[in-house]
Amino acid sequence: MSEEGIEVPRALASGPSAFIPAKEILIEGLNQDVLIESFLSLGRVDHLTMVMALHPSYLSCFLRIQQALFELDGPLPRDWRHYVSVMAAARHHCSYMVQQHSKAFLEAGGEESWLGGIKHAPVKLRSLHTLNKLLAHRPWLITQQHIQELVCAGAEPRWSLAELIHAVILMAHTHSLCSFVWGCGLNPEPDHIGGYAFHPPSPSHIPRSPYSPAHEDGRQELVDGAVEVEVLMKRMVELQQQQEEEECTQEEMVTRFERERSESIPTAVVRGAPPELVLCLVEEPEFRYEDFAPRGEQSPPIMRAQDYSWEDHGFSLVQRLLPDMGQFLDEEFQVVSNLTYNRMAMHEDVDTYTLRKALWNYIHCLYGIRYDDYDYGSVNVLLERSLKVFVKTMACHPEQTTASTYHAFWRHFRHSEKVHANLIVMGARLQAALLYTLRSITAYIK
């Protein structure tokens, strides 16, 4: 072909992730039935799947939920499902997800012009804009009115509750997936824009495009990395033992929660403008995450986990409106929160429960969800600052994740463990967003 003057594109990326060496993924993730299965069903193994394959039990659960959301019977037509996901991914400037779903959207028979901009899409889809925006950045602002506007009898175009809940799950699922994509620094697929080039890049020139995560050499020397792990180990053991001894007051507990919530974690590494491809699909791109309650301001009422929980309330509602979906989500949350290999960095036989719990609750805390029975002091003890920076960036501004934030935390941990942390952030974020929306829907149908 080259002789005929046709330029042959070459794949640029050297592996599925810009942060994790391809070698590592291949060694740990190779030769798994899930991958074979996913290859057979999709005809390819995309980068997302490859990275997730580091945790096969999660991957198989993830593939099931993907299939249930996008393929199985449901109230929304197939092409709409993918378009909703495109809209959702665009909010986080995640060109990887936008392109994946755009392709699927076209395959499902979608109208190509819709991808040229949200203004070409039907009014009904565009009416999701507000909800999409809030779900992505500030789900605690979602109220009964937002639901009412879409569902009530006079609404034009009107959403049925089943359709709405399908769309909400699609959006929340995609938002949290964007966090994962950015957090793991996934490279564009070879057929994505930015994933190929017609001329091989010279070795000196590192491609810097808005389509792929920044290639910064974030690898700092491993100063005292080993010591960190030891300290963390010790703290976890202490925490597990001391529970009964120390009895702190009510105020102290509230303060601890507030402290975690409002601790200023600098996350503003402003990235270049998002690519045109994505930008045209976003309305109000300036609407971003803002701290749940910046210091000194009147905070919106926090959500008490005991008053509206996934197990007691959310599940029943989803199951009622979209049979089976509740089951799939329930399974996903369970897999994420129970996933453990009983090891940490170079140590084996470690009970990582407290650490996982701290991560999960920290993210819920960022989203204004509080557990009465959790001592937020342990978040401070267990999560080092660089980890908090990473987690908060990922959960709240995923598009600003850089290689340096990724490499800065848990320097002695395996990559697969960092991906595990990513999974927890993703699951916790999904649940938080869903809880707020489901609570509003419950209030609406009351």
Binding site: D33, I36, E37, L40, S41, L72, D73, P77, R78, Q243, E244, E247, T249, Q250, E251, M253, R304, Q306, D307, E311, D312, H313, F315, S316, L317, R320, D330, D372, D373, Y374, T442, I445, K446
Partner: protein, 783 residues
């Protein structure tokens, strides 16, 4: 001792009086509990912890237990319980994991007595021992149950639920040492309080969390459980394996369940999501609640019977910040509103009828059941209900079979199979369908097709003029439209129309003969009532009944009654026309061949023909002109129950008529027709209809449920993964029985022995052999 106390409390119960009443709380309630003498109730929630006195006419706030400058999370209660022996003793479970006891006898404002902070997570439930003053049990989200001796500072024993969250714990009312615990994973465990090392017994009660359980107050073996799976189950624990003896299906997850005092089979439930009502069920009648309380505006979080021996007062607290006392006599009784009769037609015209027996027997002079007759299969079930109250629970079910020989829906099936809906020019389709209808002895439908052809066929095909002159001529003889010139055709048609005329006459007379009878059946607007009155007669009397029954069901086959009806109908719609029509009829000797033909048809066609044939003479005639009439005609067919005709015409006419009928109606017709076709298992036809429809809601039916579940042919287990290899037995799942290669593509298999393979191979094999190629000995057949 226990007996004694019982007697006294039972006596006390007679003094309970009151009415349905409520009071506003300041905050949502999470749980409520009453003290033993039924005079006070405690309400606990995240921001409320108060005691109310139950007076004759109202609730009176007695005590606020939330004291102190900054209420601690220890006050944020998930559950509360009032000791049933010590009237000063209360316990609460806090969302932060604390278990707190309160002594109302304390002189200070702060009544807090003991504080246990041994649980790491939210405590979901606290439960006092029914007879022991100092024994308290708690169950927590952290997976532990703890037993406290209130005389000591800490728990005396800990029971581990293996890190599954505990949702409820309940001491048995009868067995001193036993308690039951329900778990988030669906299990229920029985423990002996003396043996903290392991549970006595465990069984899976529900899928998903079991939110609540309750021991029967009198029957020692019975335990009721309620779960997120919307079920209430009653277990008999006296046997070796816990046996499910009753099951009630509710409409939402079950948050609380409480046996009703003094009523062996009654229990009350409430839900934590969506449904705000409180239901009282008779577990022997699980399909309809015995009583319902509908006062709350948000989910009910706590229910409790006011007195342990009085079944008439129920207290409830809710998220809507109200506390209610419900009088049982004020409850809604859903059964009163339930329809006492059920009626359903079978596919082939059979009829099933279920009726409350009391209705039947109250009908004096009639035998309740034609039980002896074999031809009328009859089922009845009876439930003895000695405790009265619940309306007598027994119904009779009768099934009336139609005469098998007539199998009277044949016409529907044949029509569905023979109609052509696409693939040919419009006129041919109409002609074909007309022929089909005629052969099935449905002249009206046949004529309708023919007329549609005339109305809508493209005038450009032939000289407009001649066609209009022809009028209704080509009605019955589509074959006459061959290569003839307009004039010769005219002549020919004239001749034939005469023949048709004669031909049709008998049919006409038939109509008039039948008219009387038909009118009778039509006239009785509710034929069902009529029949069911008679259904209770004995055999001889049933004969005429059966006849009646048949006529009703057969109506569609006769096709004539509808015409008679239609005529009347249309005339009423257009009062000006009938005169015209009658004139025409009277003047028939004078009219031209066209109209003679018209007159010989059933009146309705003649009417529409007249209204059509007149404008036909005008050269400006446009096909759209007929649309309103056709639309009316289609609605008429659909309303008469012949939705098949409506849909078929809709498809064949396509664009010509679609715009005239609103989408919803179209969709409705399509859905009904497809549903009918699928009931008759006419899958191919139904699929064709789906494909040809233009409603988006219908065409997308084809895209749903496209998953095909298969089992591995070796190990007979479901194939969960994709690809050709079964992940259980590691064999290629779909090997061809002839060539032993994996079949990728068309796979044909015998439904008898489930062996199969490549389509071609099997075909070849079975040409020469009659046995299965796999050697299983089955005689396969390829058709």
């Amino acid at each position: 001792m226990e007996k004694m106390s019982r007697v006294t409390t039972a006596l006390g119960s007679s003094s309970i009086t009151g009415r349905t009443m409520f009071c506003h709380l300041d905050a949502p309630a999470n749980a409520i509990s009453v003290c033993r003498d039924a005079a006070q109730v405690v309400v606990a929630g995240r921001n409320i912890f108060k005691i109310y006195a139950l007076e004759e006419e109202q609730f009176v706030e007695k005590l606020n237990l939330r004291v102190g400058r900054k209420p601690s999370l220890n006050f944020s209660c998930a559950d509360v319980m009032w000791h049933q022996m010590e009237e000063n003793l209360l316990a609460t479970a806090a969302t932060n994991g604390a278990v707190v006891t309160w002594n109302l006898g304390k002189p200070s404002r702060n009544k807090q007595d003991q504080l246990f902070t041994e649980h790491k997570r939210t405590v979901n439930k606290v439960c006092f021992h029914p007879t022991e003053a100092y024994m308290l049990l708690s169950g927590s989200q952290d997976g532990f149950m703890k037993c406290f001796d209130l005389r000591k500072k800490e728990s005396v024993s800990t029971f581990s639920g293996q890190s599954e969250s505990v949702r409820d714990v309940q001491f048995s009312m009868k067995d001193y040492f036993t308690f039951a615990a329900s778990f988030e994973n669906g299990n229920v465990q029985l423990w002996d309080i003396r043996r903290p090392d392991r549970y006595e017994r465990m069984f899976t009660a529900h899928t998903g969390p079991v939110f609540c359980c309750d021991w029967h107050p009198d029957d020692r073996g019975w335990l009721a459980t309620g779960g997120r799976d919307k079920m209430v189950k009653v277990w008999d624990m006296t046997t070796n394996r816990a046996k499910e003896i009753y099951c009630v299906q509710t409409i939402a997850s079950v948050a609380r369940v409480k046996w009703r005092p003094e009523k062996k089979f009654h229990l009350a439930t409430c839900s934590m999501m969506v449904d705000h009502n409180i239901y009282v069920w008779d577990i022997r009648r699980p399909f309809i609640p015995f009583a319902t309380f509908e006062e709350h505006k948000d989910v009910t979080t706590g229910i409790v019977w006011r007195h342990q021996h009085d079944p008439h007062y129920l207290l409830s607290g809710s998220k809507d910040s109200t506390l209610y006392q419900h009088m049982f006599k004020d409850a809604t009784r859903p059964v009163d509103k339930a329809n006492p009769e059920g009626l359903c037609f079978g596919l082939m015209g059979d009829l099933a009828f279920a009726v409350n027996e009391s209705l039947v027997s109250s009908d004096g002079g009639r035998k309740p059941y034609p039980g002896g007759d074999r031809r009328y299969p009859f089922f009845s079930f009876k439930k003895p209900n000695p405790t009265e109250q619940f309306a007598h629970v027994s119904s009779a079910l009768s099934v009336f079979e139609t005469d098998l020989d007539s199998s009277r829906m044949d016409w529907f099936v044949k029509t569905a199979q023979l109609y052509l809906l696409s693939g040919k020019p419009f006129t041919e389709l109409c002609d074909h369908n007309a022929t089909v209808a005629r052969e099935l002895k449905r002249p009206q439908v046949s004529t309708t097709w023919t007329m549609l052809r005339i109305m809508f066929s493209d005038p450009a095909l032939g000289p407009n003029h001649s066609l209009s002159k022809l009028g209704g001529l080509p009605l019955m003889n589509s074959f006459s439209m061959k290569e003839m010139g307009p004039e010769s055709r005219l002549e020919r048609c004239k001749g034939e129309s005469r023949q048709d005329n004669i031909h049709l006459e008998p049919g006409n007379s038939h109509i008039s003969n039948n008219n009387e009878e038909n009118e009778e059946t039509e006239g009785s607007d509710g034929p069902t009532e009529y029949m069911f009155g008679d259904a209770e007669l004995d055999d001889d009397d049933l004969y005429p009944l059966e006849h009646d029954n048949q006529t009703v069901a057969e109506e569609p086959v006769y096709t004539l009654p509808p015409e008679a009806f239609q005529l009347r109908h249309e005339i009423i719609d257009n009062p000006s026309v009938p005169e015209h029509l009658q004139q025409d009829k009277a003047d028939s000797p004078h009219v031209s061949g066209n109209e003679a033909e018209v007159a010989c048809l059933t009146p309705i066609e003649s009417f529409s023909l007249i209204s059509i044939s007149q404008p036909l003479y005008s050269p400006h005639l446009h096909a759209n002109f007929f649309c309103p009439i056709v639309r009316e005609m289609l609605s008429h067919y659909a309303e008469r129950g012949d939705v098949q005709m409506a849909v078929s015409v809709l498809i064949v006419l396509g664009e010509k008529i679609r715009k005239e009928i609103d989408d919803l109606t179209q969709e409705h017709w399509y859905m009904s027709y497809i549903d009918l076709l699928q009931r008759f298992e006419l899958w191919n036809v139904s699929n064709e209809v789906i494909k040809l429809s233009t409603c988006s809601a219908i065409t997308c039916l084809n895209q749903t449920s496209t998953t095909l579940h298969i089992n591995c042919s070796n190990c007979k287990r479901p194939m969960s993964n994709k690809g050709w290899i079964c992940d259980r037995c590691r064999q290629c799942a779909s090997a061809c029985a002839v060539c032993h290669h994996v079949v990728k593509g068309l796979f044909v298999w015998c439904q008898g022995c489930s062996h199969g393979g490549h389509l071609e191979h099997i075909m070849n094999w079975l040409k020469n052999n009659s046995h299965c190629p796999a050697g299983c000995g089955h005689l396969c057949e390829y058709t």
